[in-house]
Symmetry: C2
Subunit: 352 residues, 2 copies
């Protein structure tokens, strides 16, 4: 029996509504498997926790989470805290950093039954491989002078190690797929980091002659995500560019409520974290209509991560069938509740 | 008689095809006006020039351009030079910087007859006001170490002066429009510059109580440009975020070939530059089918800049009518040539 010991962090808002559903789906999947078991420990870490305790997680929160095989996270964010950056920086980013989750994988595809905002979308199916530990999200920088002369300086830091690592991952990924890799750059406007990024990418193309590569500036690439998303297979991007491209990818899919993501620790020392792309959606929280698909699909990425590829594929097929059969929450044009959608998924899992 | 002394820089690729057309349009417009005259001096500065002379412009290029009332630029870029950043950095960015063109204005709207890639676009009409002189495009930074330990550091520099300036412009712009202003931020991930950006924005909202404001993270904002572009009026953004949002805006309009832009010098010391959003489009260059609308619409922004608002509006109306009547190049679903489209525009200008 393989036991996977999960830290479950529903977080805020709709995270609290979709997480119990996604957990029930995982349990059902494990039962079908027979030799797999999920153990769940729930953590209340969130903005709500911050409002009550003055911190996003316990002082030994990282220590506690470390003992798990993976972290399954819902969404973080509270409208009362939007201007309070400290709170937002206190959960997702420390987890990614402390647990060396250096890669963020976010697939996007046209799902039957979800109406894309695009008029005539060709079938598309791409994956953004995002650098998740450095680049534009560095904590290095500060301010000088006060009043009208004040200046803020933000350092983006790109190491060869970190850059090669994410590109290596992306090339490997591309080798298992359609062998087409796009690098998101902006070396025509950003003078130091992006030419460096291009150089590293270029040096790696030589090691993967089977992979067809292209470099596209982030501005044009964002436009192409709208005008021709079907031309992409794997896209490798810096922390910030990956952040932008994946929300855009989710938008082009038709709803951010269905987009999955995985924050991967590569060295096996720490747990990886599985959290969907969407946020806590305070506008719909409490109505029972949050889309559980993003969280459940993220669960599928967790199955893949633990080597359960066949089961992962089965789960994704069920998700797609359920949506195609019209079991949809309002964000993708349906009138079903969170629970009705997840129950239908569980019903079909049990029929496997 | 008002004489406007223009530096005309067609640049590369399709820039060379559309510029003569746009210049003919300006001449026709001036004739209708009666009291307005454009003088043109043509400059060959471009990547092609670089390939021949080892530099993008003459050593005294900036001096020469300085003597003009404005710069009318086509497009810059040559596929032979993509990896050669020095060349690309040698024209647009120095002009913006040397001539203190600190604001970049880029409108986007749904144009009748241009099929947007969006399935059901509501009428949208927004303007991105982009900081054009600092931020992420700073030249400050460098590298340390060699080989596997190499690190590239890129400094983004945000001054209070520069940030207030672009926001002031955006608030003023919003006051003349629908009084709705969105700030593009990323203070949940970028630690120093973006909280500073938010702070400055917040302090200015108090001075413009009539303007309805919101701050949206760039990832979500990019998604909203696809899912609900009609909810925006004026958007204020940093150099990089403005760059991304405007290509995205152009994509949502249906073609980057129609999107106009203006690089504005505010202190009156130097010429402003008018260049459309699109690039040199080497893939269609030489076929006579480049869309002249982006360049001509950019000419309309130049008319506005010189206070010829009424004439500017008339020109935009003609552009929209011509497109709605089906005089379209292939990029927007027509089968007309560059020249046929511009000739139709000129014909209608003469009927004014
Ligand atoms: C060519 C490049 C430096 C430029 C920019 O990034 O500003 C272009 O993309 C633009 O938007 O005018
Ligand atoms: C909440 C925020 C810091 C985060 C990010 O920018 O990485 C989010 O947008 C995401 O994409 O997971």
């Amino acid at each position: 029996m393989i036991t996977i010991n999960l830290a479950v962090v529903p977080g805020d808002g709709v995270g609290k509504e979709i997480m119990p559903e996604a957990v029930d789906v995982l349990t059902a999947i494990a039962e079908v498997h027979g030799g797999l078991k999920f153990q769940y420990e729930w953590y209340p870490y969130s903005c709500e926790y911050y409002i009550e305790h003055g911190k996003m997680m316990d002082d030994d929160g990282i220590e506690k989470l470390k003992n798990h095989d993976a972290i399954f996270l819902g969404a973080v964010g509270n409208p009362k805290l939007v201007a309070d950056h400290v709170s937002l920086w206190g959960l997702l980013l420390p987890i990614r950093r402390e647990f060396e989750q250096v890669i963020n994988i976010r697939p996007a595809k046209l799902v039957k039954g979800v109406s894309s905002p695009l008029a005539n979308p060709s079938e598309f199916e791409f994956v953004v491989v995002r650098e998740n530990s450095e680049g534009e999200y560095s904590e290095v920088g500060g301010r000088i002078h006060k009043g009208p002369d004040e200046i803020a300086i933000q350092n983006a830091i790109f190491t060869r190690k970190g850059t090669e690592r994410v590109m290596e991952y992306a090339f490997q990924y591309a080798m298992q797929r359609r062998r087409h890799l796009t690098s998101a750059t902006k070396s025509n406007g950003i003078f130091h980091s992006m030419p460096f990024w291009d150089e590293v990418f270029h040096s790696m193309t030589e090691r993967y002659p089977e992979v067809d590569t292209q470099s596209i500036h982030i501005d044009a690439l964002s436009a192409f995500f709208v005008s021709k998303p079907h031309t992409f297979d794997v896209i490798v991007a810096s922390n910030l560019f990956g952040d932008i491209l994946t929300d855009l990818g989710a938008a082009v899919m038709g709803s951010i409520g269905i987009a999955p993501a995985a924050n991967i620790n590569l060295n096996g020392k720490y747990p990886s974290m599985f959290e969907p792309v969407h946020g806590s959606a305070p506008d719909i929280f409490g109505k029972g209509i949050a889309n559980p698909i993003g969280q459940i699909w993220t669960g599928k990425m967790m199955l893949d991560h633990f080597g359960e590829l066949e089961l992962g594929t089965k789960l994704l097929n069920i998700i797609e069938e359920v949506v195609a059969d019209g079991f949809k929450t309002p964000d993708i044009g349906g009138s079903f509740t969170t629970k009705e959608v997840s129950s239908e998924i569980i019903k079909r899992i049990k029929m496997l």
